[in-house]
């Protein structure tokens, strides 16, 4: 299994509070991603990183920010949590195997409930 851990694994928080989720990898992979998974929507990309301090938005980035100060850590922050951000969050890592494609490996997920 790819060396990816996510913390916390479960969290319940109140609307309006800030929340930070952490993804830690031991594979030294360059690329890291945050996805959310919701019934009826599947997995959707929130933000991704293509190197230390290099990040960009995915398709559902509103209300989220990210930071990557070290290769091994990628943080996802909900500045002011809303009930619509209740979801399961997955981190993924990738290293370009061939010129064309990047195989991604996923962490175990964080289940976040915003009340």
């Amino acid at each position: 299994d790819a060396g990816i851990t996510q913390s916390p694994r479960h969290k319940v928080t109140e609307t309006g509070t800030p929340v930070t989720l952490r993804c830690h990898q031991t594979e030294n992979h360059r690329y890291m991603y945050w996805y959310r998974q919701d019934p009826g929507h599947g997995l959707r990309l929130i933000h991704y990183s293509y190197g230390v301090k290099d990040t960009d938005k995915g398709e559902v980035s509103d209300g989220y920010s990210v930071s990557r100060s070290k290769t091994e850590d990628f943080l996802l922050t909900l500045e002011s949590a809303t009930s619509s951000q209740t979801s399961v969050y997955f981190c993924a890592i990738s290293e370009r195997i061939v010129v064309r494609a990047y195989e991604q490996y996923f962490g175990p997920g964080t289940r976040l409930t915003v009340t």
Binding site: G42, L43, L45, Y102, G109
Partner: protein
């Protein structure tokens, strides 16, 4: 916009009853098509990458194939332990010609294999 549609949404099989899952896609400049398996409460587990039409890959009872418009995941003589959600995803370059590995996922097929 990249689109991925998986069918059927759910499939129930008897042990030993072979079948196929479908993944139809619309993308400009496919870099790769990926199949994942996801068990309840866990992160997606990487199965296969397919890069070009005509390519096939096998792993135990699973075989993935790719055409220019769709991919099939064939399951031969399934066992109850093959029960899971199977996810298909595509990777394509963004407008700037890079992709950094961003994936667009289908909503998955829930496979249940009864003994």
């Amino acid at each position: 916009e990249d689109q991925v549609t998986q069918s059927p949404e759910a499939l129930r099989l008897q042990e030993g009853e072979s079948s196929s899952l479908n993944c139809s896609y619309t993308v400009s400049g496919l870099r790769g098509l990926f199949w994942y398996r996801q068990d309840p409460g866990k992160g997606p587990e990487f199965l296969f990458t397919l890069y070009s039409a005509g390519e096939e890959k096998e792993k135990e009872r699973l075989k993935a194939t790719l055409t220019k418009k769709e991919s099939f995941l064939h399951i031969t003589a399934p066992k109850p332990e093959d029960s899971a959600t199977y996810l298909c995803a595509v990777q394509a370059p963004n407008a700037g010609g890079t992709s950094y590995g961003k994936l667009t996922f289908g909503q998955g097929t829930i496979l249940t294999v009864h003994p």
